[in-house]
């Protein structure tokens, strides 16, 4: 055991947060080992965004029969398509269990870059409306940080990432230093203008804020609007750890990246109260390995990070490492998804947009911002967009032949859809633990997930399609249809919580620096650390928390506190 390779820092995971930890720690002088469970990615070979549909065996309609067998969960994600399905896990190798009547859709990517390859790139800051909500309402535990603590770190990571957007001066959705916004199309511009005169000025439409470059930025080229970002980007025009943070870490000469390294458990030394080692299975050779580091950054994704801690139980922590609070695995959240409205717009038939915009429009949260809603707390934002119907409307039109062909080649009527992303409250009874029987392909115990929407989410879900429909109608839409179905938890891929931050070690797993109360050299800056879910897409907040935690950890090391 004394021969275990030793590093200043070990980062577990190479996705959104692991990439940031690698960059920050190596740039601050630490020799850093990044352990990635999945395979290496070579952008020149693996990124497939420009493959035309006629070069695909199923013309972009996916390898349906295979996916029904080995990706029955992952195929539910829009991005798990014919070209990008290789970036999503094989469900047979990566099982998890739920109660049959309580589905949870766990979408996962296991490769160097993690889900930063396929993420939807939407980038929205939190405000104190979010950080103060728990304590104001007596829900969960109070966040140990406020906007002023994280704001400089939003500035810091956004400057590196490159975020395009339009500053709107809204208190609930703070502006960043944006690259030029992408253009709205004809109907989106029309809706933005129309909304200005309705709803007492509470509701507005802005262009999506996204981590896609609208001009060359820090050595990366501006987007050329090919569209399918989730298949990769050979230009690195959108932010991914592959194209941004990992190259920066590599440039320091202090990065060691080890793919195919499945972390089984962390080894806790009760004498020093520190993590003394990381147990790894080589995914290819099945060899058992151990690595040592002075500090450990657990960045394996919300549920994978928690799974590793649950599987690292000791006599002192029988229910999972760093779990003296009993909160590890609890308070799982996701955002409401697939609830909204769409409608048709007259006019603008002589105009169209050019380019496949990798971004939509955004309605910032308006519920419980100024006035309290009688039925629920918190709120929701909306994402959507307008488009002209294409050739596929021909399926529902009569006729055939030359006239029919010309009719469906011509762009059809304008349509717009708005879809709400709703905040989910932290509840102790939404939790994960280890399945007593099932393991993954490497023998690591599988997660058992129990997650349902609660009363507040159900009340909010009634409101979301109604307000989406109201906004479309106020802007002049016809044939407005409400979508009230909603997705099962998980499908929004904003799973958060299960190792929450807090001020009190008795009720939280991590402190205000994403540092485990029970093991000072362990940091968990990914989605597991979230004490509430906001309604904003969370990745930029994870990035800011990670950079902030790295800064703190290195300062503590220099003060010999770590």
């Amino acid at each position: 055991m004394s021969a275990a390779p030793s590093y200043d820092a070990i980062v577990i995971g190479s996705g959104i947060t692991g990439g940031w930890a690698a960059k920050e720690l190596t740039e601050k002088g630490l020799r850093t080992l990044v352990l990635e469970a999945g395979r290496p990615i070579d952008p020149g070979e693996d990124f497939v965004e420009h493959v035309p549909t006629w070069e695909m065996r199923y013309h972009g309609q996916r390898d349906r029969r295979r996916q029904l067998i080995d990706q029955p969960v992952q195929r539910q994600c829009y991005a798990c398509d014919e070209m990008a399905s290789k970036f999503f896990v094989n469900d047979l190798e990566h099982p998890y269990t739920t109660d049959p009547d309580k589905p949870f859709i766990w979408i996962r990517g296991r490769q160097v870059g993690g889900k930063s390859i396929m993420w939807a790139r939407q980038t929205y800051r939190w405000s104190d409306l979010d950080f103060e909500a728990n304590v104001r309402e007596g829900v969960g535990v109070d966040w140990p940080i406020r906007y002023k603590d994280i704001a400089p770190w939003y500035d810091y990571v956004e400057d590196f990432v490159g975020v395009s957007g339009n500053p709107e001066g809204l208190s609930q959705l703070p502006d960043g230093k944006f690259l030029p916004p992408m253009e709205m199309n004809c109907v989106e511009q029309h809706v933005r203008e129309q909304l200005a005169g309705h709803f007492g000025g509470e509701r507005m439409l802005t262009i999506g804020r996204c981590a896609v470059l609208t001009r060359d930025h820090r050595g990366r080229a501006a987007c050329h609007y090919c569209g399918p970002c989730h298949r990769g980007c050979v230009q690195f025009s959108y932010f991914s750890s592959i194209g941004s943070t990992l190259p920066a870490a590599r440039a320091t000469g202090r990065l060691t990246l080890r793919p195919h390294s499945v972390v089984r458990r962390l080894v806790f030394d009760p004498a020093t109260r520190r993590i003394s080692g990381v147990d790894v299975i080589d995914a290819v050779t099945r060899e058992y390995l151990e690595f040592r580091g002075r500090i450990i950054f657990l960045c394996a994704s919300t549920l994978e990070s928690t799974r590793i801690l649950l599987n690292s139980a000791t006599p002192e922590f029988p229910d999972g490492l760093a779990n003296s609070s009993g909160e590890l695995g609890h308070n799982l959240m996701d955002h409401h998804f697939e609830v909204g409205a769409d409608g048709e717009f007259d006019g603008f038939l002589d105009r169209h947009p050019i380019g496949n915009r990798p971004n939509g429009v955004y309605v910032p949260r308006f519920r419980n911002v100024k006035a309290a809603h009688p039925d629920f707390v918190r709120g929701y934002g909306m994402q959507g967009g307008a488009w002209r119907d294409g050739w596929d409307r021909g399926n529902d039109l009569p006729g055939y032949g030359a006239d029919f062909k010309q009719r469906i080649i011509t762009p059809g009527p304008w349509r717009m859809s708005l879809e709400a992303f709703g905040e989910c409250l932290p509840r102790h009874d939404n939790y994960v633990d280890l399945d007593p029987e099932k393991t993954d392909a490497w023998g690591v115990p599988a997660l058992r997930i129990r997650c349902t929407w609660g009363d507040n989410e159900r009340a909010m879900k009634k409101d979301m399609p109604v307000t989406a429909g109201e906004m479309l109608e106020a802007a002049g839409a016809r044939n407005v249809k409400l979508n009230t179905n909603g997705a099962a938890p998980g499908l929004c891929i904003h799973e958060m919580g299960t190792a929450r931050m807090g001020k009190d070690p008795k009720t939280s797993v991590l402190n205000g620096w994403n540092q485990a109360h029970d093991a000072k050299n362990l940091f968990v800056p990914d989605g597991a650390s979230m004490a509430s879910s906001g309604c904003q897409n969370p990745s930029i907040t994870y990035m800011a928390l990670t950079a902030r935690a790295c800064d703190h950890a290195v300062r503590e090391m220099r003060r010999h506190n770590l």
Binding site: E55, R57, H59, Q61, M184, N185, G355, D392, P398, K405
Partner: protein, 212 residues
């Protein structure tokens, strides 16, 4: 130029305008052949459709999307796309329904005195398609009325051999849908009929249709 050269060029903004004028399909398909399973190529071996069925499919598809100022469905090899879907993609009952529909085309032609659909004179082939199109329109209308009316009887699940009451399970609907998808995802359908590019190179929110 191999694929890696093309990728390097892409990373350089100055060369982009030059690339935009090349055929996206040809340029960016460079070197893909080994990396991908590949769409149906010129050497595609049909797996489900026999030569007569294949010719029937190509003939009907070309009536639905004929050659105009842009190529038609036959030239876009929609028959190959349909064969792949039937062989490797769809459920068994979908394939059974589709092949029964092809046989029904022949039966309708025989009722008009021909040996089979391909043996029927062009006017009769069109008449058969007109009839199918009218039947689909009628089915859509009755499905719409049923959806509006209160439920009076439990819905009966369609089987592969029963006459479907759901428009999307009707052979003609399936055939037309496969034809549209196969055509507009083909190189001529995408680049010539829709005049789309893999890399538009710019984003404009609201411009006249004439601007491409």
């Amino acid at each position: 130029m191999d694929r890696r050269d093309a990728l390097r060029l892409l990373g350089s903004a100055v060369t982009l305008p030059a690339l935009l004028h090349a055929s996206a399909g040809r340029l960016f398909a460079l070197g893909w052949d080994d990396a991908l399973a590949g769409g149906a190529g010129t050497d595609y071996q049909f797996q489900v459709l026999d030569p007569r069925q294949r010719e029937t499919v190509a003939t009907v598809a070309d009536l639905i999307l004929p050659e105009t100022d842009t190529p038609g469905a036959r030239a876009a090899r929609v028959d190959e796309f349909i064969d792949i879907v039937l062989a490797e993609w769809c459920d068994d009952d979908y394939r059974v329904r589709f092949l029964a529909g092809l046989a029904d085309l022949d039966a309708r032609a025989r009722a008009k005195g021909a040996s089979d659909y391909l043996g029927a004179p062009p006017a009769d082939r069109v008449a058969i398609l007109d009839a199918l199109d009218a039947e689909l329109t009628a089915m859509r209308e009755s499905a719409r009325l049923r959806a509006q009316a209160p439920a009076t009887a439990p819905a009966v699940a369609a089987t592969p051999t029963s006459a479907p009451r759901v428009p999307s399970l009707q052979f003609y609907y399936m055939f037309r849908s496969l034809t549209l998808t196969g055509y507009f995802t083909s190189e001529p359908g995408f680049t010539l009929a829709l005049r789309q590019r893999i890399i538009p190179g710019r984003l404009l929110g609201c411009v006249p249709l004439e601007v491409q």
